[in-house]
């Protein structure tokens, strides 16, 4: 076992984990942060997407030990003082979710996309979300929410 020092959503935390533990398992089981979803576990579906130093990664294929010294952001880190952030509110407004299982991953992939490219075209949005599957919405609401968020970017 190893004792990992992780910085998650701006807070420093320590957790016991196997040396080769995956970030997804450490978040969900070690730290009981279940906002990050367990999906396919083969890096296809994107339900487990988190940010590592601002970059979207699938936490099911990331060694937790490699995250030491890096900034991890999960869906729990988006809201402030119980208030949803703008992207989250726009997801609600545009009906960008139905069952909600893909939503944390969608939000994190969109957040990474908008950081890299604050005014993405529809095509760039599609590429930015190519690692995130949604089986309910048909994606239209998700694309609209991200476009609306981009339109508000200065």
């Amino acid at each position: 076992m190893a004792r990992l020092k992780l910085r998650i959503n701006g807070d420093d935390t320590e957790v016991e984990a196997r040396e080769t533990a995956l970030l997804l398992d450490v978040l969900r089981e070690g730290l009981e942060m279940t906002g990050t979803k367990r999906g396919c576990e083969t890096s296809h579906c994107g339900a487990c997407t988190v940010l590592l130093d601002g970059i979207a990664v699938h936490s099911c294929v990331v060694l937790a030990a490699r995250c030491e010294g890096k900034e991890i952001t999960t869906v729990e880190g988006l809201s402030r003082d119980g208030e949803l952030n703008e992207l989250q509110r726009l997801f609600l407004k545009h009906g960008a979710l139905q069952c909600g299982y893909c939503t944390p991953g969608m939000l994190m992939a969109s957040t990474a996309l908008l950081r890299r490219n604050p005014r993405p075209t529809l095509e760039e949005i599609k590429v930015g979300l190519d690692g995130n599957l949604c089986r309910c919405t048909g994606y239209t609401g998700i694309f609209e929410a991200i476009q609306a968020c981009a339109a508000r970017a200065k």
Binding site: M1, A2, R18, E19, T20, L22, E41, T42, S43, H44, G46, T49, I55, A56, V57, H58, C60, V61, V62, L63, A65, R66, A109, A112, L113, V127, G128, L129, D130, G131, N132
Partner: protein, 295 residues
């Protein structure tokens, strides 16, 4: 059960020492985007993982008049973004843009993509068409071999148990070269059902004539390969419809596809014909650029 160990060497010397010590009990881990899936599905069970992340020299990209050397730990995203790759070897940029998904490209690496040697991977066909070489290091020394020699078989390479793939070298292309990568897959994040990379070296004197057409095929054989018979029919010829069609037929006959849930062997073979034809047509449409080494 003994817990799997993770080693995180800080120097190449340490990493090679660990590789030599553990041999087949250890596997190097690059981006982990394929390896960690294999581990989870219990398809591999190494006692030790040797993490290459801290070896910054494996991320170096060096350009010279002879070509470019790309560190094995260069991520697919960075490979795609490198201006020197985009201008000199656009076929490789195009292939990089087709690898997996954004998240996979963010962490996955060129070295990992090659060492995993998945039949439908995107980089090998492009790198084969670019005559790429791989540099392998061990405590015994350094060797450099052609990629086609490295990719031995289905998910198998000729890496020795004490070696680490350090860099990929691409020789400079002659002037008047052009390249195209086409991928056929069900969904953008899927592996290729069939893919083709074409690098055209134009004849210096005659427009429409090929000095050489190099073709890399993926997804249609146990290992990505160059259909050399098809290539030889195009060497020094005018690239008209008839010649292109004939070469595409031959390339299809050189494929050795398998059936899986993404496509039957027969379908894959037909797609080789279509993709080779389209890729050569596309490469011919590219404007000729002047200046040395622009592809």
């Amino acid at each position: 059960m003994v817990e799997r160990k993770l080693l995180r060497p800080e120097s190449m010397e340490d990493a090679l020492g660990q590789r030599e010590h553990y041999q087949r009990d250890a596997l190097p881990i690059a981006g982990g985007q394929s390896l960690l899936v294999l581990l989870r599905n219990k398809l591999i069970d190494p006692k030790v993982l040797i993490d290459l992340e801290r070896l910054s020299e494996l991320r170096e990209v060096k350009q010279s008049k002879d070509g470019i050397s790309i560190g094995a730990m260069t991520t697919i995203h960075n490979l795609f973004s490198l201006p020197e790759v985009r201008t000199a070897f656009p076929v490789l940029s195009q292939a990089a843009s087709k690898v997996g998904s954004t998240a996979i490209r963010n962490l996955g690496t060129i070295g990992g993509n090659i060492c995993h040697n998945e039949p439908g991977a995107d980089l090998p066909p492009a790198l084969l068409a670019l005559n790429a070489l791989v540099e392998l290091r061990s405590r015994r020394g350094t060797r450099k071999i052609g990629l086609s020699e490295f990719l031995r078989g289905y998910f198998e390479t000729t890496i020795a148990p004490d070696e680490i793939l350090c860099s990929v070298e691409i020789p400079q292309l002659p002037a008047k070269a052009a390249g195209v990568y086409l991928k056929h897959a069900i969904s953008s994040e899927d592996l290729a059902i069939a893919s083709v990379a074409v690098v055209l070296i134009r004849d210096n004197q005659q427009a429409g004539k090929a000095q050489e057409v190099r073709i890399g095929l993926g997804g249609v054989a146990p290992v990505p390969f160059r259909p050399t018979k098809a290539e030889s029919t195009l060497r020094g010829t005018m690239l008209n419809q008839k010649a292109i069609r004939a070469a595409a037929e031959i390339a299809a006959s050189e494929a050795d596809p398998m059936t899986d849930p993404h496509g039957s062997a027969e379908y894959r073979r037909k797609m080789v014909k279509v993709l080779v034809r389209r890729a050569i047509a596309a490469v011919l449409e590219q404007p000729e650029r002047n200046g040395h080494g622009k592809a």
